[in-house]
Every structure is written in C-alpha cells, then in structure tokens.
C-alpha cells in the first residue's frame, strides 16, 4: 500500500528543492487559530475526564475494533455497513457517557491520550463506513460483495465512480462529499484480472 500511495515515488524528487527554498522561522503560538484549538483541546480534555463512567478506554476501543473488523473489512456489503454505522453511533454515545479515565489532564496521562485517539477513531470509523456505503462498486481495497463478477473478481463502475471522494467535515456525524474527478487521457480504465 505504501508503494501505491500518492507521493511515495514523487516526493523524493520534489520535496528536497521545496524544503531547500523554505527558510525556517520561529513559529509563535499567539495566532488566534492556535488559541482557539488549544481552548477546544482543553475543553475536550475536561469533558473526557469528567465522565467518570464504568468502562475503560481499552474495553470500548476493542469493541469498536471488532465492529470495524467484522463489518468494515476489505469485503463489505450494504447490510453490514448500515449495521456498522448504527453500531458505531451507539457505541460512540456509550463512550461519551460511560468511559472512565483515571488521572488528571495536568500531567502525562497515556489513558487520556488513548481516549482522545479513540474519539478520533469513532469519527474516522463512521466516515469509512459511510464512504464504503456510498461507493456502489468494488475497487482496490474496497470490495463490495454485491459488486463482483461471477468468478469473484472486483466489478468497478467507471461510469459513475471515476472520482476520488473528499469528505468535508460539517459537524457531528455530518460530512459533505466533494468529488474529485479522475480523468484518463491516454490509458483508459479496463477490467483488471490477475488470472
């Protein structure tokens, strides 16, 4: 996957000159955006620490992991994805109501760090499931069980899905889809078979 990801082959030839022309400057933290984000983080820290519920971060993390593993794996289908989205939303509520994080926010607190990452994972997990549900084709690492040839090969839909989905965050459980079209000038997409 690393080799396939955009930039892996391009970056070594380009970033050197880019960085070479960039003079490092001392960055201050008095920018209003910085202060806004710092305030948000502090606020979220306080909320997380004040929940004082019954379930550990690890326990909830594993449950979320199982939902993702079972229903948002490489092979996924409409029914499973819809269930996953419901399950994730339900568990997210449970997390924000019933997680327990010992210790404080004034010191190093690895449990608090993990809780913050788990909160992010809820967001990303839900979006992954939504994105997989929206894309009615099989393509690359996304295999929708409904879209396959008789011999089990992935069935793409280049007519309707020749675009990259860029999801813009628009508040809790809301994202706006921006389609970045994929245009092929010389090599036209064809059925890929490893047989």
């Amino acid at each position: 996957m690393q080799g396939l990801a955009d930039g892996y082959f391009v970056i070594p030839y380009t970033i050197g000159n880019y960085l070479g022309g960039d003079k490092p400057v001392f960055i201050k933290t008095d920018h209003p955006e910085f202060e806004k984000v710092a305030g948000e983080v502090k606020n979220m820290t306080n909320i997380l620490l004040s929940i004082k519920g019954k379930r550990t971060v690890d326990d909830i993390h594993k449950q979320l992991g199982r939902i993702m593993w079972n229903k948002v794996g490489m092979a996924r289908n409409e029914k499973g994805l819809k269930e996953a989205i419901d399950d994730i939303r339900e568990l997210k509520q449970e997390f924000w109501k019933n997680v327990t994080i010992p210790g404080s926010g004034d010191d190093v607190n690895q449990t608090l760090e993990r809780a913050g990452r788990l909160a992010d994972y809820f967001e990303l997990g839900e979006l992954m499931a939504l994105d997989a549900l929206e894309r009615n084709e099989s393509c690359g690492g996304h295999f929708r069980e409904e879209y396959q040839f008789e011999d089990g090969e992935a069935k793409r839909d280049d007519e309707n899905y020749s675009f990259v989905s860029a999801w813009e965050f628009a508040g809790e459980s809301k994202w706006n889809l921006h389609k970045e079209p994929l245009e092929f000038e010389y090599v036209k997409p064809a059925i890929r078979s490893y047989k």
Partner: protein, 256 residues
C-alpha cells in the same frame, strides 16, 4: 483446551513525575504464555483503570523491535533477560510460573523519569541534531549505486546503522555512558563516502553535546554491547575514539 496461564508477581516501579520519589509496587497477574511483556502490562493497565487507578506508564510504538521506543529494565536487564531483542519482543513463555519479576525504567542522569517506566530520552535527539546527518545539496535523488562502495564497508556501515536509538546501552552502563549509541551513529557515516566531508566536524560536535548532557564516560566494560537489542559492536566506540583524536590533529575545516 483451556490454556494454562502463568501466575506472576510483578514488582513495578511507580513514580508520579520527575520530582517525586518512586517505589516498587506489587501486582499479581495471571497471563497467557503467548502474551508479550507489553501485552501483559496492557492487560494489567486495563484492570487498574477499571478500578479507577492510574495506568502504569510505559512507552511503545511499533512493537516489532525496530522503533526503539520501548525499553524497560526487567530483572536487572535492559530489554529483559534474552539477548538481541527489544522489550516488545519478549514473551511471557520465557518466565516461570510463580516467578517474581522486577520492572524498572532505564536509569541514567541524562534520562530523567517522566512517569513510572517512561523516561525522557530527548538527549539522544539533541546528539543527532548536532551531527547525525550528512549535508546534501537539494535536488533529485541520486541513482542507487552511483557511488561504488565495497561490500565489506557497506556491511559494517549497515551494522552500525542498525542502532534503533533505544538507550539500552546507557541503561546497561554503570557510568550511564552513551558511547555505543553515539559511536554507532558516527560510524555509519564515517564508513561511507557520503559521510567524509563532515566526518571530523561531526564527531567533535556529537561528542560535545553528549558530554554536555551528562552522559558518563566509557570504561570499556562492554555491558552496552551485551544488552544491545541490535548487537551493535563496541568496535564502533574504538572507531569513534580514533576519529575524535584525528579531529584534534587535523586542520580545522573551513566553515561555510
């Protein structure tokens, strides 16, 4: 078949922060022999958190022995009793049912304890920032093998570059010396053509920062090599000493 779990008595170093006094606290655990040492601590932490107690803080990242983040002193040995592995690669099957295990942080003046088993190893970053690099004009990546390097030299450089910067050498040393780490970094460049332009400037800069940070001197006990998860050889220390002396003899390079 129900797997047989090991009953272990852990004596773990707990310390609230760098200013407080720490002590060993006893924990009894039942653990699968297939669990890694860090997985055992994860499980223990989960039970502590369920009781509202703070987790035992320790560091880890890749958990496959290549990142150098984990590092505990287990029964007196950095990275535990087995040779050539990092803490994350140590499994509970190497311990006996009923055994008592002492778990401590890496102890050195230059590695202050942050919390419990977590220590501040940013001193290593400072040493690397002083000279652990080669300066290259920006531009395209050169083709591989554009500069011929004999295989034996390439292998020696690679062996030095295998250092993951975990700090076990410092923890193993009675003087808390960082010579094995610094010499591995110095050697990986000193052995290769790309490292030559800054060779003597580099060794002086890195040793200077190492000394300033409070790492101790080397008295050739080789405890570092014995505990190193990557078997970095102490011959690197000899090479660094040689270059350090040469740097004093050589005319100063012209600073650009």
């Amino acid at each position: 078949m129900e797997e047989k779990k090991l009953s272990l008595k852990l004596k773990i170093w707990r310390q609230k922060n760098s200013n407080s006094v720490g002590s060993f606290i006893d924990y009894n655990v039942q653990v699968s022999p297939d669990a890694s040492f860090l997985e055992m601590l994860d499980e223990l932490n989960n039970t502590l958190e369920a009781k509202g107690e703070e987790a035992i803080h320790f560091e880890s990242d890749c958990r496959e022995g290549i990142c150098g983040t984990c590092g505990l002193v287990i029964n007196g040995h950095p990275h535990g009793p087995l040779p050539k592995i990092a803490t994350c690669q140590l499994h509970m099957r190497n311990f006996k049912d009923g055994q008592t295990i002492w778990v401590e942080p890496f102890r050195a003046k230059a590695f202050p304890v942050i919390k419990d088993l977590m220590v501040d190893r940013s001193g290593f970053d400072k040493i690397l920032q002083a000279g652990g690099y080669v300066s290259v004009n920006t531009g395209g990546t050169p083709d591989a093998n554009a500069i011929p390097i004999p295989k034996d030299i390439a292998s020696l450089a690679m062996d030095a570059a295998a250092c993951i910067g975990c700090g076990a050498c410092v923890a193993a040393c009675k003087n808390a010396s960082a010579m094995l780490f610094v010499s591995a970094k110095v050697s990986q460049y000193a052995l290769l053509p790309q490292g030559q332009p800054e060779r003597y400037r580099r060794v002086e800069k890195m040793v200077k920062v190492m000394d300033e940070l409070g790492f101790g001197s080397c008295t050739n006990t080789y405890a570092c090599e014995a505990e190193c998860p990557k078997s970095i050889s102490v011959t690197n220390i000899a090479r660094m000493n040689r270059d350090f002396v040469m740097a004093k003899v050589k005319a100063k390079e012209v600073e650009v």
